[in-house]
């Protein structure tokens, strides 16, 4: 019996020793994403992006193994996000914090990243000020001003004179409204009216009718993903607004695949701005989309590409630092990094650590038998205008 105990103890020690040695050669990346709750879909897509990249490029970088630790944030819960980040660092020994589809969570974890000096990669959350929270943070998605300011300017330049704006009444929506209106007005356009609708709004009929009453050339709509784009589309059709006559403008969510499928032909003519769409015509993207479909049986979207490129950033930064995982080295390696992504050219701005990328204007058109977002224009190398104006 005693021998058995000694044997077991020895085995345990050996395993512990081995894993301790093994731990030295591992880089732990903590993925804080909403896997449950109403944002679960965006979280899953982001996770798929990360997993696909790791599958394609292996899980060893600069001689070290990448270990993913997944934590479920469960939706908007900044106190939970902060705790998960703290636990990841303290309990699991995480070196890098990544994920974050939602702004409140990213902001809360920013404090942890700054205090613990850990490299942090934001793969979706789009509010401008997020990257200012920690000097070790970089972003691989987009910022709300980047997309909406560009759309506003484009609209003014392309013959739309009077616009009515409608946005969801919370942070990102208000942000989008501010920057779209700024871009549009600076381009010479006129805002004839605006409204903010409640966040969990199921029915848009009243709001769309109020917009129609003002007789604008275009209606700008900002809503988060989920069930709302569909409901908006229905309301537009039912209130008799033809996107081919009255221009409907919006951010990516309005052009999401599920929304288009639900809206049907009534969606034709809707103009959206985005940093990525699975229809983007490049060899790299086609290969990416095919691989994604083979693995997950669905098309990638902006959340997937955020996760994919974010993982790329982590890998390349590690290669550049030769495997060093402290925040200082990694962020310095990340600054100024540039590459060709399935979305197009990609640059991490060395000053703001934020993303600089090509912004695409797309229109919903029928390609074959399906509705797709077809690129009609693009603006290259767009920096985040909010931060640019803060410093000047």
């Amino acid at each position: 019996m005693q021998k058995l105990l000694y044997g077991l103890a020895g085995l345990a020690l050996g395993l512990f020793g081995a894993s301790a040695v093994h731990a030295e050669d591992a880089v732990k990346v903590c993925l804080i994403i909403s896997y449950s709750g109403q944002f679960a879909d965006t979280g899953n897509q982001m996770d798929h992006g990360v997993t696909l990249y790791m599958k394609q490029h292996g899980d060893t970088v600069a001689g070290k193994k990448i270990v993913l630790i997944r934590k479920d944030n469960g939706g908007i819960a900044p106190d939970v996000a902060k705790r998960l980040a703290q636990e990841c660092i303290v309990r699991d020994g995480a070196d890098i914090l990544a994920g974050f589809e939602l702004t409140p969570n990213a902001l809360a974890v920013g404090d942890v990243s700054a205090e613990a000096k850990k490299f942090m990669v934001v793969m979706n959350a789009a509010t401008s000020i997020i990257t200012t929270k920690s000097p070790y943070m970089a972003r691989t998605s987009s910022t709300t001003p980047q997309l909406n300011f560009t759309l506003g300017q484009w609209a003014a330049k392309n013959g739309i004179k009077k616009i009515y704006t409608m946005v969801s009444d919370y942070g990102p929506g208000i942000d989008a409204e501010t920057w779209f209106q700024t871009g549009f007005k600076e381009g010479g356009g006129e805002i004839v009216g605006s409204v903010r609708f409640p966040v969990a709004n199921p029915d848009f009929s009243a709001f769309i009718q109020a917009a129609k009453d003002k007789n604008p050339d275009g209606i700008y709509i900002w809503i988060p993903g989920g069930a709302q784009p569909l409901a908006v589309g229905k309301a537009l059709a039912e209130r008799g607004i033809d996107p081919k006559k009255t221009k409907i403008l919006g951010q990516d969510a309005l052009g999401f695949e599920s929304a288009l499928q639900g809206m049907g032909d009534t969606a034709l003519g809707i103009i959206t701005v985005a940093n990525y769409d699975y229809n983007h015509d490049s060899a790299m993207n086609k290969a990416f989309v095919k691989a994604y479909n083979d693995e997950f049986k669905r098309n990638p979207d902006i959340f997937s590409i955020g996760g994919y490129d974010g993982t790329h950033l982590i890998y390349e930064a590690l290669k550049k630092t030769g495997g060093k995982t402290d925040g200082e080295s990694l962020i310095n390696a990340a600054k100024g990094m540039t590459w060709e992504s399935p979305r197009g050219p990609f640059l991490i701005d060395p000053e703001t650590r934020d993303i600089v990328q090509t912004v695409y204007i797309r229109k919903v058109e029928k390609v074959g038998n399906e509705l797709r977002n077809v690129e009609i224009d693009k603006v290259p190398a767009v920096k985040d205008p909010a931060k640019a104006r803060m410093t000047h």
Partner: protein, 286 residues
């Protein structure tokens, strides 16, 4: 005609949908005082059954509606036998906990089988688009919704007012102990009513997809609205649920059209005021 009528029409259709989803809960809560927070899970089940039949098996939309009803009713019979039956005498809080547990499980199962994204669904061609009525654009699907809801309401009212079954239901809602004393099999009655109510919720869920979308969170998202309709309408009153659903649908929409700044909370303020005025609901028992 002033565009607000078009908007009110939309509100009416929305209210009808809420009515279909809520009437079952109102009756079962009024009759047995059984707090079934999993009511919207049955609605969600109906929705997913309809979607599966349409997308995977190619059934026509109209055929999926009775299927959704039957599926939800069947599921409720099973759950009633296994779980709910034991909790009729239990406290409200225990019933809450049980049914919330069931909601969580149902959301997880839906997410596991169908994934977390929206289910795409296009109503059949003859239900799309809108017709022009005196200058107003009325959506065909909403007209259909209103028609279905009116037919069902009529059927329910007729059943409750003229049939023996309906009389027994009314007796059991009014005074359960007396009804038992008269020899009415209240437990059996409840099982049937429960199945009926859940079936209607399932039907509502199937009809809702084209208007509200469907994802695993459906079971929780619409629970609040259903509770508002049930409490404002009055427990156990079909007409009460109908009136409350209309009132809420229209005031919600009208509020958003005229005063969008408070559009979000108008529906809650209306509920609070109505409940303070009539705590047992508009048509509830005193």
């Amino acid at each position: 005609m002033h565009p607000v009528f078009g908007v009110l029409f939309d509100g009416l259709a929305y209210g009808m949908l809420l009515f279909l989803m809520s009437v079952g809960l109102s009756v079962t809560l009024g009759m047995m005082n059984f707090v079934n927070l999993a009511h919207c899970s049955f609605a969600m089940l109906g929705g997913y059954v309809a979607i599966t039949l349409m997308n995977a098996f190619g059934w026509p939309f109209l055929a999926t509606l009775p299927a959704a009803f039957v599926a939800a009713a069947a599921a409720s019979v099973v759950l009633e036998r296994i779980f709910f039956r034991r909790f009729y005498r239990a406290s409200d809080l225990e019933q809450c906990l049980l049914t919330i547990g069931i909601v969580f499980v149902s959301i997880a199962i839906a997410a596991y089988i169908y994934g977390t994204d929206q289910q795409p669904m296009q109503p059949p061609v003859y239900l799309r688009g809108s017709i022009n009525f005196f200058g107003l654009d009325l959506a065909v699907y909403r007209l259909f919704l209103i028609a279905v809801a009116l037919v069902i309401t009529a059927a329910l009212m007729v059943t409750v007012e003229t049939t023996r079954f309906g009389a027994q239901v009314r007796a059991a809602v009014n005074n359960q102990r007396m009804a038992r004393g008269l020899g009415i099999n209240v437990d059996g009655l409840f099982a049937v009513t429960f199945a009926l109510g859940s079936g209607l919720a399932g039907l509502g869920g199937a009809l809702a997809i084209a208007m509200l979308g469907l994802d695993p969170q459906f079971a929780l998202t619409y629970l609040i609205y259903v509770l508002i309709v049930v409490s404002v309408g009055g427990l156990g009153s079909i007409f009460g649920s109908f009136a409350a659903a209309m009132l809420l649908g229209i005031s919600d929409i009208a509020g958003k059209y005229y005063v969008p700044a408070i559009g979000a909370f108008l529906i809650y303020l209306v509920m609070i005021v109505l409940l303070m005025w009539r705590p047992t609901g508009l048509f509830g028992r005193r």
